[in-house]
Symmetry: C2
Subunit: 146 residues, 2 copies
Amino acid sequence: MTKKVTAAQAWEQSLIGVSKLLSKFDAEMQKEAGISVIWYDVLLHLNYALEKKMRMQALSDSLLLTRSGVTRLVDRIEKAGLVRREPAAEDRRGYYAILTAEGEDVLERAQQAHQRDIRQYFGVHFDAEERRALFDLMSKLVGAVA
Amino acid sequence: MTKKVTAAQAWEQSLIGVSKLLSKFDAEMQKEAGISVIWYDVLLHLNYALEKKMRMQALSDSLLLTRSGVTRLVDRIEKAGLVRREPAAEDRRGYYAILTAEGEDVLERAQQAHQRDIRQYFGVHFDAEERRALFDLMSKLVGAVA
DNA sequence: TGACAGTATTTGCAATATCAAATAGTGTAC
DNA sequence: GTACACTATTTGATATTGCAAATACTGTCA
């Protein structure tokens, strides 16, 4: 086995670096809005959904979580008062998670701080052309995964 | 609050997509070499280290883990026989994790499969110029995090 | 209609992570 | 040389997640 760092290993390190970036943003959000990026993601999805509500199943498809993961994640967010559950009228097996007024407030605060962080981070390290190129390539990367 | 998807949100989705990609590689590696990408990362770091050994502290700095996380991760890998511990002669508080012969074998197998996967993945979705551009940009991104 | 295969959600259990405290050793300052 | 602040690692308690099983409901087929 050689000591040369192969392209594949370099990719791997890049991917791991991106994960590190995510957890950095997570820490920032925790500090500035008191919620994690995961909670933020839930609130964000709900906010964009029709009537600001989504079925548990749909949430689990949108997020990076299994259904049981979503069940317990929503449990926690519900306990914090940022969402509430409501039985689905059209299918009595199902439940909606619904964004509460407090959830909207917290989301707004988190969103502002987060956008400022991201703009600052990428603004400092990349120029406009690099940002566009990186964004295009990452979109392609993400599209290819799904 | 508007419904427009902001640049920050798009970035966020990209970052999450990259996480998804990582877990996809993880599943592949589990199937093809019987270890997770995290174990792979440990073995890889050890393989490149002088004498194929590293202090627990150094491992924790290199990986995405706290020290206690590394303690228990190395516990598991050690139980599988891929690394062993050895007290550090020069500092009796410390321990080295050392790659075993079996660890080297497993690493070699994992590495070949993983590199094939990665080459295939990026080879299919990106042309040579895109790969170079993406790699440069991601390196810059990662460098900026550290 | 009523058996039954399939779907939505939750729950029990096991795995893995963090944080804080415990343990053990180092090195400097007097 | 010994008190003490600092460092390396592990351990205990707790949190979060996935997988598989349990529960509850739907919809189709005979």
